[in-house]
């Protein structure tokens, strides 16, 4: 039997996780934070590799989600100072351009709770099923199904109301 060289377990798995994790983070934070959090996520994954399931993607998203939450908390603390610096450095009328390809969609998202919005993202962007989403966010699969259904319904309703004309 032709035996393939045994790639080191963690490295092989981590290499496969990098791109999905990068996309996950790119959808939720700025590039610099995404890069830092990706690194942190891999580190945590390494330390907790004994817990890594055979299908590690949802597990890895959950790790990334926690790491991102930690990074955001740290940044909010920093921002309290940075806001003051920003106000001094920029004229008050300056508003950074926000590249939003679909403002109506963004408004629909804004009507959801943070958790429900995340359920929708995980469904649409990460293409996870309810059981996997449940693993990421720490809810039961049943709860995810119900909340996801309601969240999508709410978003669709907002988009219908807006009649936004996006094809």
């Amino acid at each position: 039997m032709d035996v393939e060289p045994r790639r080191t377990g963690f490295e092989a798995v981590a290499q496969e996780l990098i791109e999905p994790l990068r996309r996950y983070l790119a959808r939720r934070t700025d590039p610099a934070t995404a890069e830092d959090v990706l690194s942190e996520t891999l580190l945590v994954a390494w330390r907790r590799r004994a817990e890594m399931p055979t299908e590690p993607l949802a597990w890895a998203y959950a790790v990334a989600r926690n790491c991102l939450a930690n990074a955001e908390r740290a940044r909010r603390r920093q921002d309290r100072l940075l806001v003051r610096i920003w106000q001094v450095a920029r004229p008050p009328e300056y508003a950074p351009a926000r590249d939003d390809p679909d403002p109506a969609l963004a408004r629909a998202f804004s009507r959801l709770s943070a958790v429900d919005a995340e359920l929708v993202r995980l469904w649409a962007w990460e293409e996870l099923g309810p059981a996997e989403i449940a693993q990421v966010v720490g809810l039961s699969a049943n709860a995810v199904s119900i909340r996801l259904h309601r969240a999508r319904k709410k978003m669709k309703s907002v988009l219908d109301e807006e009649g936004s004309g996006h094809e």
């Binding site: 798995v13 791109e19 990706l38 690194s39 969609l105 669709k156 988009l159």
Partner: protein
């Protein structure tokens, strides 16, 4: 229930607005660097940001033996390129040292350990690292590997190291000089890193033998050290800095 927008429409619309749609895949070497950083147990961040910490690398000569069982079990001839399943060459042509096989007379369990298995905590004790010139360490240390000893399998031999194999498997690759050897910890100062970042690496020799991954470290001599999954690659992939071995490294990690 919505009149006009279906679930499919919503998903399509979200995909069109996907912020990651234009994200280009990470170059392979960068991905490998990230994973190597994780296995070093410190976060690797932007390339412009240099975090240099001493790291402790476990010696993996021992793993060969665990893997030796794999060779036998699979009917292999011991000619596998996998550094895990073969001993260093007995003629020491790669390492330049002929002081041992690289595999101790271990008394461990001899079972292969995969990275997904919990490792023993017995080897996680850090040891002090002396200040290293010209860039003293920041004093932070992370232990990254614990290995098991196992029985020697005299039937397993190595192939000549191959650049492609090294490139595929190495998570770290350093050119480093031995600063000191204390007990079972060999401290090396890094002169060049092909993969990974460190000023100092520490290799914990768990083999109970002076031989480490097929070579016997000597203070002041320069070595090329590759590691996969925080374990030194033996079987001729790590050894004295000699032209043959360097050529393998240079081919495996071409300058960009």
């Amino acid at each position: 229930m919505s009149d006009g927008v279906s679930d499919g429409d919503l998903r399509d619309r979200m995909r069109r607005a996907d912020p990651a749609a234009s994200l280009r895949p990470l170059p392979e070497d960068e991905a490998r660097r990230l994973v190597a950083g994780a296995a070093l147990d410190f976060p690797v961040v932007r390339k412009s940001y240099t975090r240099r910490v001493p790291v402790l690398v476990g010696a993996a000569a021992v793993v060969a033996l665990a893997a030796g069982a794999v060779v036998l079990a699979t009917g292999g001839s011991g000619h596998s390129p996998d550094w895990r399943i073969a001993q260093p060459p007995s003629d020491s042509s790669q390492s330049g040292l002929a002081t041992g096989s690289g595999v101790p007379d271990g008394s461990g369990d001899g079972q292969p350990r995969t990275s997904s298995q919990p490792r023993s905590t017995s080897g996680t004790t850090s040891v002090p690292v002396p200040p290293v010139s010209p860039s003293p360490s920041e004093g932070r240390k992370t232990t990254i590997a614990v290995l098991t000893d196992g029985p020697q399998d005299p039937d397993v031999r190595c192939r000549k190291p191959e650049a492609a194999f090294l490139a595929e498997h190495a998570g770290m690759a350093f050119e480093a000089t031995v600063l000191k050897i204390e007990g079972n910890v060999v401290t090396l100062q890094v002169q060049h890193a092909w993969i990974g970042q460190a000023d100092v690496i520490e290799v914990k020799n768990t083999t109970a033998s002076p031989v480490l991954a097929g070579f016997e470290p000597e203070v002041g001599r320069k070595y090329l050290v590759a590691a996969a999954d925080a374990q030194v690659m033996g079987c001729g992939y790590s050894g004295l800095d000699e032209p043959d071995l360097r050529a393998v490294y240079d081919e495996a990690f071409p300058k960009r």
